[in-house]
C-alpha cells in the first residue's frame, strides 16, 4: 500500500498541472458545448432554438441511417484494428533484431504514416480507379472497387490499414526494446521454440503497451472521417458512411447543430464503452 503522505498528492500535482491546464483550457468549453447542444433543438435553417432534453437521443434511436452508420463504423473499426495490430506486431518483431539497414528500414516504414491523409486518400482513390487504376491493371480485372457496395468499405479498410500499421509498429518496436534480454536468454536456455518465446515472454511483456495502442487505434478508427470521405464520400448508397461522416453531413450540410452534436456524444459514449471493455478484458487476462 502506498503511503498517504500529503506530498504524495501535491508533488505529483505540480508535474501534472501543465497538462491539466492545457487540456482543460482548450477542451473543456468545446466538450461542454457539444454536450449542451445535444440537448437542444437547433437548426439554422428550420429556425427555432430550444432545450428539448433527450428528444434528440430518442430520435437517434429510431434513425435507420444512424444504425447503418454505426454498423459500418463497427465493422470498419473491428477489421482494421485487428489487421493493424497483427501486422504491426509482426513487423515489430521482424525488425527487432539488429541487421544492416535497420535504420533505413525503420524510416521506410514511416512513409505510409507520413503521407498526408488527404493525399494518400486521393492516391488510393486513383489506384482503385476501375478504368486506369493500377490495381485493375496489375490484376487484369475490372472490379469496381469504390463503386460497388460489396467492395467499397473493404477498399477503405485496406487503405486505412496501409496507412496506420506504421503507427502500431513504431510503438510496439519501442516496447520491444524495453523487454529485458535476460528473459529471452532464460527461455532459450530452457529450450523454448521461437513461437513459445513469443507467447510466453514477448506478449506478456508487451501486453500493457498493446492495450494502449489498441485503445488509441480503436478511438481513431471509430472516429475516422477524412480518409473515407475523400475516398468515397460515404457512398455508394451510404454503404461506407461512418458515424463521423454522418455527423459531418448533419452538422455542416444540413446545419442541424443540435442533432449533429447528439451524434458526436453518442460516438463518445460508444468509444468509452469499448475502452472500458478493453480495460476489463485485459485485467481479467492479466490475473
Amino acid at each position: 500500500m502506498k503511503q498517504r503522505h500529503p506530498r504524495q498528492f501535491l508533488e505529483p500535482l505540480c508535474f501534472l498541472s501543465p497538462a491539466l491546464v492545457v487540456l482543460a483550457a482548450v477542451t473543456l468549453y468545446p466538450i461542454l458545448y457539444v454536450l449542451w447542444l445535444s440537448l437542444q433543438r437547433w437548426s439554422l435553417i428550420a429556425g427555432g432554438h430550444g432545450f428539448i432534453g433527450l428528444q434528440n437521443y430518442v430520435r437517434l434511436a429510431h434513425d435507420g441511417r444512424f444504425w447503418n452508420a454505426l454498423s459500418n463504423t463497427v465493422y470498419f473499426t473491428g477489421v482494421s484494428v485487428a489487421l493493424e495490430l497483427v501486422l504491426g506486431l509482426a513487423i515489430a518483431v521482424l525488425l527487432h533484431r539488429a541487421f544492416p539497414g535497420k535504420g533505413l528500414m525503420r524510416a521506410v516504414l514511416l512513409i505510409p504514416w507520413a503521407v498526408p491523409t488527404v493525399v494518400s486518400a486521393k492516391m488510393w482513390g486513383w489506384m482503385y480507379n476501375a478504368d486506369y487504376g493500377i490495381f485493375n491493371y496489375l490484376l487484369g480485372t475490372q472490379v469496381n472497387w469504390l463503386g460497388s457496395p460489396a467492395w467499397a468499405l473493404h477498399a477503405a479498410i485496406l487503405m486505412d490499414v496501409w496507412k496506420t500499421v506504421p503507427f502500431v509498429a513504431i510503438l510496439l518496436m519501442a516496447g520491444l526494446a524495453g523487454v529485458p534480454p535476460e528473459l529471452y536468454q532464460a527461455a532459450r536456455v530452457d529450450g523454448a521454440s521461437p513461437w513459445m518465446i513469443f507467447r510466453r515472454v514477448t506478449l506478456p511483456q508487451l501486453r500493457p503497451l498493446i492495450l494502449v495502442v489498441l485503445i488509441f487505434r480503436t478511438i481513431d478508427a471509430f472516429r475516422v472521417f477524412d480518409a473515407i470521405y475523400v475516398l468515397t464520400g460515404g457512398g455508394p448508397a451510404n454503404t461506407t458512411e461512418t458515424l463521423s461522416i454522418y455527423a459531418y453531413k448533419i452538422l455542416f450540410q444540413t446545419l442541424q447543430f443540435g442533432y449533429g452534436s447528439t451524434l458526436a456524444v453518442v460516438v463518445f459514449f460508444c468509444v468509452g464503452l469499448i475502452t472500458l471493455a478493453y480495460l476489463r478484458a485485459m485485467r481479467k487476462a492479466g490475473a
Binding site: 428550420a46 478504368d131 475490372q142 468515397t232 464520400g233 457512398g235 455542416f252
Partner: protein, 424 residues
C-alpha cells in the same frame, strides 16, 4: 419571422460593426475558390477596381476547390459571425440557405429589375429568397452532352436528340469498336449525381417540387430513374464504374478516347482541345437528350457573389460586387479563365466569340438551364436524393422504392417550416 431573424443578426453584429471609414484606406476581403489559370488576370482586375475606387483595397483569399469544404468553411465562419471577409462567392445552391440563416445582406437597389433583365433567368431564380435578392450571379454553368464526332460519322448518325437515340448510337458504336464505353457520366454519391439525375427527371417532364408541393414520386420520374439504371444494367451502355465517377474522372475517360458520349459541364471543352489530347478536334457538343415528346433540360451550376451580413463595409462590398459582375469584368474573366458570364449580351461580344467560339453555342444551353430546387433545405434534400439515387444505381433499391422514400423524406423536410419560400 425573417424580420426578427434579421434584427437578431443585426443586433448580434452590432457589437462588432465598425464605422464606415472615409478618407482612410479600407480593405475588403473577398473569399472565393481558386481560378484555374494564371492568377495575374484576376489581380489586374482587382487593381483596376482599386484605381476606380481610391481608398479601397481588395484582398483576395482562396478556399479549397471542393464545394463541400467551402460550405463547411462558410458555415463555421458565418455562424461565428466572423467579420474577416466581406464578399463571398457562393455555389448556386446555397443562396436560399445562407439567406435564410441570415448570413447574407440583401443586395441594394442598384441591382434593379432592369439590370436583372440583362442576366440569365435561371441564376436569378437561384438568388432570390423571400421576395428579396441576396446575391448577384457571377458565373453560370449547365450540363451538356459531349460526343465523338468521328465515331458518330462512321455510323452516319447525327447527335442524338432523344435518350433512345443515344442508347442506339452508343450500342452500335461500341459494337463496332469493342473496348469503348458507350456513355459516361457522374454517378458517384455526391452532389453531381443529383445534377445528372435531375436532367433525366426534367427531360421527361417530371420535377421534384412544384408550386410548393413535393411531386417527386410520379410515373414520369419512375420511368426516368429506371432509365438511368437501365443505362448500366439493361442496355450496358454505361459501365458499372460510373458509380465512382465525378467530373474529372469522367472527363479523363472521355478525353483519353475511351467513351462515345459524356455528360459534363462546359469547362471540359478547352481541355479536350489542348495539344496532346487524344480527342482533339474530334469532339462535338450539344444539348442533352430528352424523352420523346418532352424537352431537353440542363442542371444549372455556377457561382454568385454575396455580402457577409456582418461585414464592416457593406456599401464598399456591394461596390466590389457591382464591379465584378459588370460587363467588362465578366468579359475579362471569361477571356482569362473561360468562366461563362451570366450577362446575356456577352454571348454576342465579338472579342469573346473570336477568342472562344465555343461559347456562342452555350447561350441556348444556359437560356434553358434549370436551377435545382430553390429552398433553404436544398442541401438536406440533396443528401437524401444522393443516397436514394445511388442506391438505385448499385441495384440496392428499385426506382419505385427510392422515389417513394424520397417523396416521404422531402415532404417531411418541407413540413418543418411551411413558410419557407420554395420555387419551381
Amino acid at each position: 419571422m425573417l424580420g426578427c431573424l434579421g434584427l437578431l443578426v443585426a443586433a448580434g453584429c452590432g457589437r462588432r460593426a465598425g464605422v464606415e471609414t472615409s478618407g482612410e484606406e479600407t480593405t475588403l476581403v473577398f473569399k472565393h475558390s481558386k481560378f484555374f489559370g494564371n492568377p495575374g488576370a484576376f489581380e489586374a482586375l482587382l487593381q483596376q477596381f482599386e484605381k476606380e475606387n481610391p481608398g479601397l483595397r481588395v484582398k483576395s483569399e482562396t478556399l479549397p476547390n471542393s464545394s463541400d469544404e467551402q460550405h463547411q468553411f462558410y458555415v463555421i465562419n458565418l455562424q461565428a459571425r466572423s467579420v474577416d471577409f466581406d464578399v463571398l462567392a457562393l455555389d448556386v445552391v446555397w443562396g436560399a440557405e445562407f439567406a435564410r440563416a441570415g448570413w447574407l445582406k440583401e443586395i441594394g437597389a442598384w441591382f434593379s429589375p432592369e439590370m436583372q433583365e440583362e442576366f440569365f433567368r435561371a441564376p436569378l431564380e437561384a438568388v432570390a429568397y423571400g421576395g428579396k435578392v441576396h446575391a448577384v450571379p457571377w458565373f453560370i454553368d449547365a450540363g451538356v452532352l459531349y460526343y465523338r464526332k468521328d465515331l458518330l460519322s462512321q455510323t452516319h448518325r447525327d447527335a442524338p436528340k432523344t435518350w433512345d437515340e443515344l442508347v442506339a448510337i452508343a450500342r452500335q458504336v461500341t459494337q463496332d469498336n469493342p473496348g469503348l464505353y458507350g456513355f459516361v457520366w457522374q454517378g458517384k454519391q455526391y452532389e453531381g449525381l443529383v445534377c445528372n439525375a435531375l436532367e433525366y427527371l426534367w427531360s421527361n417532364g417530371g420535377n421534384v417540387i412544384q408550386n410548393g408541393r413535393v411531386v417527386i414520386d410520379s410515373p414520369e420520374n419512375r420511368q426516368a430513374v429506371a432509365f438511368m439504371r437501365d443505362l448500366i444494367y439493361r442496355y450496358h451502355v454505361s459501365p458499372q464504374l460510373v458509380t465512382t465517377l465525378t467530373e474529372e474522372p469522367s472527363r479523363n475517360l472521355f478525353g483519353n478516347g475511351k467513351s462515345v458520349f459524356l455528360r459534363n459541364w462546359p469547362y471540359a471543352w478547352s481541355l479536350f482541345q489542348q495539344d496532346g489530347s487524344a480527342v482533339k478536334d474530334k469532339v462535338g457538343v450539344t444539348v442533352l437528350p430528352h424523352f420523346p415528346g418532352k424537352e431537353s433540360a440542363a442542371t444549372l451550376g455556377g457561382w454568385q457573389l454575396g455580402v457577409n451580413a456582418c461585414s464592416k463595409h457593406p456599401e464598399a462590398a456591394e461596390r466590389l460586387i457591382r464591379f465584378l459582375t459588370s460587363y467588362e469584368a465578366q468579359k475579362a474573366l471569361a477571356l482569362a479563365y473561360a468562366l461563362n458570364p451570366t450577362r446575356k449580351k456577352l454571348y454576342e461580344d465579338k472579342d469573346l466569340l473570336a477568342a472562344q467560339p465555343f461559347t456562342a453555342q452555350l447561350h441556348q444551353v444556359f437560356e434553358r438551364a434549370r436551377p435545382r430546387p430553390v429552398t433553404p433545405f436544398y442541401v438536406m434534400i440533396s443528401q437524401h436524393m444522393q443516397t436514394e439515387f445511388s442506391a438505385v444505381l448499385v441495384n440496392l433499391k428499385t426506382p419505385d422504392d427510392a422515389l417513394k422514400t424520397l417523396q416521404a423524406e422531402i415532404d417531411g423536410i418541407l413540413k418543418q417550416n411551411p413558410a419557407a419560400n420554395v420555387s419551381q
